[in-house]
Amino acid sequence: MAFLDIQHLEKSFGTLCVVKDFNLGIERGEFVSFLGPSGCGKTTVLRMVAGFETPTSGAIRIDGVDIAGLPANRRKIGMVFQAYALFPNLTVADNIGFGLKVAGEGKAEIGRRVAEMLELIGLQQFGSRYPFQLSGGQQQRVALARALAPRPQVLLLDEPLSALDAKIRVSLREEIRRIQRGLGITTIFVTHDQEEALSISDRIVVMHQGVADQVGTPFEIYNRPATRFVAEFVGTLNLVDADVVEAAKGRVRLGEVLVALNRPLSARAGERISLALRPETAVLGRGEGHDVVLSGRIAEVHFLGSVIRIRVAIGGQTVSLDTFNQPDRPPPAVGTPVEVSISERDLLVLAA
């Protein structure tokens, strides 16, 4: 059995069911992200694990012990909130020591642990400050230290980076991951930011309308999305229409070109299906191993810095593709006729 084991978890508010048959096992020391748009139920699941919401049904076990009936203050779960939630009347050191004091630790032990935590988050000089004297990023680091100080069994992070500006967000998420790895603490991280989830997670749970659509490593989630929602929510995607020619062998017609997907399709011959394609898998011109060649015309060029996103009109459809910026090769002008090549292996067939 997994260290944190969630089984058949459901939550309804009145007639509205916000979490449906949620199952997940998290191993000790694993970092799992719940990713989804607002209202998908990810925060509700987290709050049920924390004990702030009562499940309508289902079980939550930590190390084999069912905690569903325990009040939040007896679960030994550390939590970091989006709004920091530091106690404004306590100094940084007192905030970090709060949980230890509640647990009845001695003064010396609290002092030692607080110093250790301050060092962990790199704020040794800030112990006697009050929260309002710190920046947002510093406050959130203190909140992290406060959650970790009593050595919780599980760490829950509820969109901890959402209130911070972009640069701090990236550096703090790396710091969170470093600390989490160092302590080996089992962690759930809730976010609506796919880049955040992809960059720091061992595994990602993509949630949609109260259901876990897909559970997998960032690599799996990105490259082999299980549902149309996952494919569309995670990363940028081209959707192109294709007509099924032979379902069993997966032969489809893409514009003028016949493509063999080499996997059976559920749609029947003559039906129209959607194929998905990541912008970085399409190549301008002919690429090695890219056997499907489509011809079109440059429709738009967006210079994003290190990456150039080019939109090519092919037949009646537009396909986006990403190329790296090369200083000695300016991007083609709008209207230029070009060839776009793709590999049939990169074409994703999405369930409707």
């Binding site: 924390a50 004990g51 702030f52 009040p71 939040a72 203050n73 007896r74 679960r75 030994k76 779960i77 550390g78 939590m79 909130f81 709004a83 920091y84 939630a85 530091l86 106690f87 404004p88 009347n89 306590l90 709060f98 949980g99 509640v102 647990a103 009050y130 929260p131 309002f132 909140a143 406060r146 959650a147 009593p150 829950l156």
Partner: protein, 262 residues
């Protein structure tokens, strides 16, 4: 000097005179007890009067008890209304405003009717029962001020997140209130407390109708029997009220973690 400036100065001066002249007159009068010279004779007599000391002490103790009762009643109530029952807020606000709408004399009569010696709960029959009744009455009178200031204080902090943070760190309700909620609304509680103090110190109707020797009835008795001392007493009462207001300001300014002004 521009015309605009002249008129604003005039308005402020007139307003100031309207409030300050009677006070100045009262202070002046209170110091004329000895013929032909200014003295604090009236104050000396008042402060040395054992009646004054006794009634004032009684009212101070009662005011402090009222504050404690008010805090115990209002802080958890306002907290839970904000956190769990936000739909009830208009109702609770209306209820806490009632003491301002219903005259104290009506409340006092109600108490006497309900808790008289032939009732099921004869509180007016004993000294301690009457004191208790007075305490409850004053807590009611203080409700609008106490609730409003505490509620305003709660609005400035994110009580939902702070509550959950404290709970996830293992804190129970008592610690949550004592260490997290109360200290963060301390300034608001204090301003409610000082207003309560000022109300209770000068209250007359409840005390007189329940026949209690509090500071309010003493002031009235003094006013109808002496000439110079009542003015001195009024100045003392004013000073107490102003000291309360000053203390509110002081605590608001010097609370070291308050983020309200930063």
């Amino acid at each position: 000097m521009t015309g605009k400036r002249f008129w604003s100065l005039l308005a402020v001066t007139l307003g100031g005179l309207y409030f300050l002249l009677p006070l100045a007159g009262m202070v002046d009068f209170s110091m004329r007890m000895k013929r032909g010279e200014y003295s604090f004779e009236a104050y000396r007599i008042v402060l040395a009067d054992p009646q004054f000391q006794q009634t004032f002490l009684y009212s101070v103790v009662l005011a402090l008890l009222t504050i404690v009762l008010g805090i115990l009643l209002v802080v958890p109530a306002a907290y839970f209304v904000r956190l769990r029952l936000p739909g009830l807020r208009p109702v609770v606000e209306f209820i806490t405003l009632l003491p301002l709408v219903i005259p104290p004399i009506v409340i006092a009569f109600g108490y006497i009717r309900i808790y008289n010696t032939s009732s099921f709960l004869p509180l007016t029959g004993t000294r301690s029962g009457t004191n208790l009744l007075l305490l409850f009455g004053y807590a009611t009178l203080a409700l609008p001020y106490m609730y409003r200031s505490v509620d305003t204080g709660l609005r400035t902090i994110d009580i939902a997140s702070l509550t959950e943070a404290a709970q996830s760190l293992g804190a129970g309700w008592v610690r949550l209130f004592a260490v997290v909620i109360l200290p963060n609304v301390f300034v608001s509680v204090l301003s409610g407390a000082f207003l309560t103090f000022a109300i209770v110190i000068g209250e007359y109707v409840f005390a007189a109708l329940l026949n209690v020797n509090a500071f309010g009835p003493y002031m009235v008795w003094m006013g109808s029997n002496r000439a110079y001392e009542p003015s001195a007493l009024a100045v003392v009462a004013f000073a107490i009220t102003w000291a309360c207001i000053g203390l509110i300001q002081l605590f608001t300014r010097f609370s070291k973690f308050s983020t309200a002004r930063r």
